[in-house]
Subunit: 307 residues, 4 copies
C-alpha cells in the first residue's frame, strides 16, 4: 500500500524540525548515552501493509512499553483473576501511586504503572525462577514480533537493578500487603529484565498488531487474546498508558498507546494498524517528546483517532 | 432504521433483571425520592435515526452530565485559553482532587470533576450576573436538544445550594489561588443551577449528538464546535467522565461518556450515535449502576466500542 | 525583681543584629506596611514581676496567638466535649491539614491550626450572633490582660474577610462533615475578628500568665481554668503551637508557645513566667524569626526550658 | 528514698484493674506469644534513688524505644550534621510518613519514626559491617544500663527481618533519594537487631537516666551527651515519641517519652527521674495501653509534668 510509505515520510517531515529536542533519560549510563537525534517510525496494518522510516531498524530499550505485553501474558495465565490484584483506573500524578497504594491496601491502580507492572510480573513468575520467567517473556516477544532477534540488553538490566531503589521500595511495599507472592528479589530481577528488552520500531509495531486486530496477529493468523481482551487492553492503554499525561495523549492523539522512558511509544489504531515510534528525548512527563508529536501528526493525517 | 428500535428493546431486556438495583442519591430530598425502578434509554444517530425505550421522555436531574455542555460552551467563549486554568488528566480517587488542587496550585485536573467544572463555570460567568449565565446555559441546552422544554429544576437548585458545602469549599480553595475571578457566591449559584438542569433521555441524546458527528448537529446542520474540539471533548469524557471509575467504564463500555449523580449517562459513539440512559440507582463509584450495564450491553451488541 | 529588667535587656542585645530580618506578612495591606524593625518583649512572672523592652507597648495584630485564648474560652464553655470535635495531635505539614481533614472526617487535628480554631470558634458562637461572640472574646482578652485598651483592629478584620478564601474553604469543608453547626459566614466573621485582635507585648504576657501559674492569674487571683486544663493547653502549645515548625521550636526553645503571622509569639514557662515577643519579620515557616531567636536566648539565659 | 517505693506501688495499684487489656502485637510470633498480663515499672532518680514493681526484672523487646539510644549514639558520631538528613517535626499520621518522605525528598520528618530511625542507623553504620554496628549498639546499651545482661533477642531479630517488608520499602525509598549511604540490606540488618534489643524495666530506666540529668549518668558520673543535646532529645521525644499519639501523650502525661510495640515506654522527668514501664497490650495507636495509664498516674501523683 503506497500510502503508508507516503504517510510515514510525511510524518517524519512534520516532526523533522523538532528532532533532537527533549531530554534523554539519564538515570542509567546505557540510556544516557543514546543520541537524542534518533527518530524511527514503523507501521503495520491489519491488512498486512507495513512501512517504516528513519531509525526503524535500530533496537532501543522499550522499557515500560513492555508492560503491555506482560499484561497480555499474565491475562493469558491467570485470566480475570488478575483484576483482583490490580485495578484499571488512571493513577493521577506519580505522587499518587504510593499514596493510593497505601490507601488501597497494596492494590496498584493499573497494570501500566510500575507498581501494577510489578504485580503483573509476580503473576507471571508464579513460583518459578526468574530466568525461566525472563526466558518466557523474551520468547513471547519474539513470537509476537515474529523476529528471533528481540533480545534483553544485559547492560541495561544490570543498571536497572543497581539503581532500582524506587522499584524495590514499591515491591516491598506491595509485598507488605501480601499482594506479591514470590520473593521480592525474584520479582525485581524479572522486572528489570523485561524493562531492558531491546526492540526496533518495526519489531514493536508487529508485536502490537494483534491489539489492533481483535486479538489475532493478522500476519501469522494466530490468536493472542480474545477480542474482548484486546479491546480492554486498548482501553487501559488509553486511560493509563502515559503516566500523568495519559489524558493529554488521548486529547492530542486519540489512540491507545504506551510509552517507555527509552523514548519508544506503541500506539494502536483499532481495526487499522499498530504504530511504533522512537525518539529518545523526553518531555516533562517522561514520554517521548518527538514520538508524541509524530503520533499527533499521524493521527491528524489519517483520521485514525478513535474519537 | 428498524434496527435501532430493536436495539434499545434488546438492551432494555438485557438489563431488566437489574432494574431497581443500586442506591439512589440521597443528599437532597428531590433526588432521594426518585423511584429507583426508572429506566430510560434514547439513541440518536448521525444519519438521523432515533429510538427510545422505557422512561425516555421523563425529565431527570442531569447533574454532572451538564459539565460536558458547560465545557463546550466555555471552549466556545475562551478557546484554548481555558486549558491554562484547568488540566485534562484523570484525577484518580475523589480524595485526590483536593490534594492535587493544592499541589497543582489551584488548577483542577480536568473539567469534568467538580473543581474543574467550577472553573469552567467561572469562565462562562465572565463578570456577568448569575441569572444571565444561567439563562445562557439553559438556552444553549434547549438549542442543542432542539426542545424548549429543557428546564432548571428550582427545587433541586435550591437544595444543592443549601447542602453544597463541599463545592463551596472547593470554590473558595480555587479562589485562594486566584483561579476563580468572579465572586464565589456567583460561581456557586450558576453551578448549582446548571447541575439542576432537568432533561429527558431523548433530549439528552439529541443534545450530545454533535459530539458523535464531528462537532455538527446533523439534525439542524449547525456547527457547535470544530471537529478537533469534538474529538478532544470525547477524549476527556473517555479518560475523566466517570470520576474514579473512568478506567472501568472505558474497559467495560469503550465509549466516551459522562455520568451524573441523578443516574443519567451520556455516551458518544464517534461517527455513529449519541446515547442517553437513565436509571437512578448508583454503584459504589456514584455512577448509574443499571445505566452502565445498559451501555455495556449496547456496546457489545453494536460493536461500537472505539477499541 | 531586678534580674528581669537585665534579662530582657540582655535578650534584646542578643538579637539586636538580627532586627529587621525575616519577611513581613504581606497578604493584607495592614500587615504588609508594618515596619520590620519593630521588636518588643515583655515578661510577667508568677510572683508578680514584670519587665519589658523595645516596642513592648505598641499594639500589634496577634493573629493566631488568639487561638490559645479562644481554646481556653471554649473549654470553659463546653469542657472536654470539645475534644470530640477537634484532636490534639500535631498536623505535620500545612499540606496535611486538608488531607487529614478529609481522612479524619472533618475532625481537625488540633485547635491551634486554622481548621481546629474554626471549630473552636463555632463552639464559642453556639447559636449567637457573631457580634455577641466577638464582644465576648474581646471582653475575655481585656480581663486576662487586665487592660481595657485591648481592641479589634477593624481594618485587619475587614482585610482578613476579603482575602480569607482559604479559611472559607476550610470552614465549608468542615461544615460538609457536620462539624460546624453555625452558619459558615458567622463562624468566619467571628474568626476574622478574633485574628484581628491588637495587643501589646505587655498585655499579651499578662493575658497568658494564668497558663504558667496553674490556671490562676496571680495578679488578680482569679482562676481562669483548672490546673489540669492549664497543663493540657501548655502541652498542646508545645506540640502544635508553631505549625510545621513546632518540633523545631520545642527543640530550640523548649517552652510551650504560640505564634501568629503578625510576628507575635506567646511563650509559657510553667511555674515561672509568661513571655510575649513581637517582631514582624517571619521565617520560612511563618513564625517570627527574631521573636523565636529572642525566646531561644531567653531560654538559654534562664534555663527555663522544660526539658 | 522511701517515697519511690510507695509511688510505684501506688501506680501499680491504680492500673491494676486494667492489667491485661489492650492488644498484644502479633506480627511476629515472639511478640504474639507474650502474656498480656505482664506489667513492670522501674524508676531511677537523678539523686540515685531507684524503685521497681511488678515484672520490672523481666526482659522484653524494647523495639522502637531503641530509637532514642541510636539517636544519641548517632549524634555523638556525626553531631548536628545529622539534622541535614533527618528533621525534627512530628509526622502526623503514619499515613503521612511515606507521603512526606516523597514531598520532602527522602528526608524523614524525625528520628523517632521508622524512616528517620533507618537514616540514624545508616549514620551509625558508616561503612562498617552490620555485625560491628550491632555490637556497638549493644555495648552502648550495656554501658548506659550498667548491666552486661542486655542482649539482642535473635529470634525477634530474625522474625523482624522475615516480615520487615514495610521497612525494606522505606529504606529503599530513602536510598532512592540518596539519603541512605550503606547497602540497604546492611541498614536493615542493623535496624532489625536494634529493634530486637531485650531489656528489663530496671535496665531501661537506668539507661535513660542521663536524659533526665543534663546528659550525665548520675550513677557512674560519665557524660553521655552535652546538656543542650539532652534537652533536645527530650524535646523530640515530647513532640514525636508516640507516633500519631504524641500529642495525646503530652496532653495526658506531660513528659517526654518513647514507646515501643513490645509494650515498653521510657519516660523522662527532666531534673528528676527516668521511668520505664512495660505492659504488652497496645492501644489503637500502637502504644502500651496500661503503660501510658501508669505514666499518667505517676505524673498526676508526682506533679512531674513539665507543663
Amino acid at each position: 500500500m503506497t500510502d503508508l510509505a507516503g504517510l510515514v515520510a510525511a510524518v517524519r517531515e512534520d516532526i523533522a524540525p523538532q528532532i533532537g529536542t527533549g531530554r534523554v533519560a539519564d538515570y542509567i549510563p546505557a540510556l544516557a548515552r543514546v543520541d537524542p537525534r534518533h527518530f524511527g517510525i514503523a507501521i503495520a496494518t491489519c491488512d498486512g501493509g507495513t512501512a517504516a522510516a528513519g531509525d526503524a531498524d535500530l533496537p532501543f530499550s522499550i522499557q515500560s512499553v513492555s508492560k503491555v505485553f506482560t499484561l497480555t501474558l499474565a491475562l493469558g495465565r491467570v485470566g480475570d483473576a488478575l483484576w483482583r490484584r490490580v485495578g484499571r483506573e488512571p493513577s493521577g500524578s506519580p505522587f499518587n501511586s504510593i499514596v493510593q497504594l497505601e490507601r488501597e491496601q497494596g492494590i496498584p491502580r493499573n497494570p501500566l504503572i510500575n507498581a501494577g507492572a510489578l504485580v503483573v510480573t509476580d503473576a507471571i513468575l508464579a513460583g518459578r525462577r526468574p530466568e525461566i520467567a525472563i526466558a518466557e517473556i523474551l520468547m513471547y516477544l519474539r513470537e509476537l514480533a515474529d523476529d528471533p532477534r528481540v533480545a534483553v540488553d544485559r547492560e541495561v538490566a544490570q543498571s536497572e537493578a543497581e539503581t532500582g531503589f524506587r522499584n524495590a521500595s514499591l515491591a516491598n511495599f506491595i509485598r507488605s500487603f501480601g499482594n506479591i507472592a514470590n520473593p521480592v528479589a525474584s520479582v525485581l530481577e524479572t522486572y528489570f529484565n523485561q524493562c531492558a528488552l531491546a526492540m526496533t520500531c518495526r519489531q514493536l509495531a508487529h508485536a502490537g498488531l494483534f491489539l489492533a486486530n481483535g486479538g489475532i496477529d493478522p500476519v501469522g493468523g494466530q490468536r493472542v487474546v480474545g477480542p474482548d481482551e484486546a479491546r480492554r487492553i486498548n482501553a487501559i492503554m488509553m486511560t493509563c498508558g502515559h503516566y500523568d499525561a495519559s489524558g493529554d495523549f488521548a486529547f492530542r492523539v486519540g489512540l491507545p498507546g504506551k510509552s517507555g522512558v527509552g523514548g519508544g511509544i506503541l500506539a494502536v489504531a483499532p481495526r487499522r494498524a499498530s504504530i511504533a515510534v522512537w525518539s529518545p528525548g523526553l518531555n516533562a512527563s517522561g514520554n517521548s517528546l518527538v514520538g508524541a508529536l509524530a503520533l499527533e501528526s499521524l493521527s491528524r493525517r489519517t483520521g485514525w483517532s478513535v474519537f
